[in-house]
């Protein structure tokens, strides 16, 4: 499989290891496998692959994960339409936005 990597340097995902209780939920919900369990703590091993979808943040009962840029669509059409005050439709089909 081809590995798609986007602009890793802008990724705003933060994992607070001290709060992590090792439940492993973030590993389960991440569609790009950016987390890995290392003993009793989650570890951010493939941060560059993060698309800031926010699934891990929403499903972390310990509040140990933050996506600081806010989860929105990594979608240029949506950003442009938002700029002109149009609420964007979903950009495509099986994927999104």
């Amino acid at each position: 499989m081809i590995d798609f990597k986007y602009l890793g340097e802008t990724v705003s995902l933060i994992l607070n290891k001290e709060k992590c209780n090792g439940c492993g939920m973030c590993v389960k919900v991440c569609p790009h496998a950016v987390f890995e369990m290392n003993g009793s703590k989650a570890e951010l091993t493939l941060k560059d692959y993060c698309m800031e979808c926010g699934a891990c943040q929403l499903n972390c009962a310990q509040n140990a994960i933050k996506v600081t840029v806010g989860n929105g669509c990594g979608c240029a059409t949506g950003i442009i339409e938002g700029y002109f005050g149009v609420e964007s439709e979903c950009c495509s089909d099986s994927t999104c936005c």
Partner: protein, 345 residues
Amino acid sequence: MITGYIKTPIGDIPQVETRLNSKDILGAIKVRWLIGRDNYMVKPGLYAVGNPTKDSNVFVSANYKLSFDHVRKNLAGRDAWILVLDTKGVNVWCAAGKGTFGTHELVKRIEETQLRKVVNHHRLILPQLGATGVSAHLVRQLTKSESEKGFNVVWGPIKAADIKPFLKNNYKATTEMRRVTFTMAERTKLLPVDIVYAGKKLLGAFVLIFLVSGFSQTGYSITDAWYTSLPSILYIVLAYFTGILLTPILLPYIPFRMFALKGLITGIFLFIALHLGNYMANSIYAILAWVMLLPAISSFMAMNFTGGSTFTSLSGVKKEMKIFVPIQITMAIFGLAFYIINLLR
């Protein structure tokens, strides 16, 4: 689609077939072209597959008919319940991003369908991509009461096609099932929607190039516009498809990570191909016009494919827009200026 009804303590639940008929398949093809897309939905609520009992699994899905069809098709030969959320006819991932495939809608739907009276367990299987909108621990908390246990969300595979191996694997999604892909086939499937959706932009470009094509040494004439704009419109169409079709298909094979830069590169290649093929007027102004316009158009269209992709981040898209939108606008303005100068000369 509905073949009968299953009797439950809360009344009759519609039973759906697991075989898709020609109408379902035609409908799926049509929505890929944006035809009837806004209204391709099923009624939210509870459905039955096979002859489910109180112990049967509950799969949660969106009310976009394409999503629902994927789920029921992959439950062939099983007895299960499907709980359809009201996502306004949008697929799971997009709806999760918007929050309609979300914690509150799920909790509300559990109450409204009286799911507790239909099943005697507390396990809900959700597609993994729904995790952007549904918080598993919140669902458990919000459905819990003094007398009742809360519902447990089990994250299933991304693709409905993996439901069977997921169940076999003791309700655990493997790493492969959890990773979103973006194969050439998956990219190609998205192109019709993108092309139809962006059609207005192409039309706008036609009007613009038509209007400026009326300029000549003798002034302005609409008749001239018809003649001069025809080859120009063809170049624009080529640049448009280079950005919206060729670049997405070849995505991983074009260097650099920014989509706008990928599109700029393919646009430059288009210019070189047209120029070497002697398809363009050889005036220096015409060359300057097209060396700017073609990559600008291709870059802009490729940048818009970020929304269709499965791996771009909001912060990343913002960054590339900050760099490339000014470049695209500058190139378009200079390109148009050279185009007009070429006509006035």
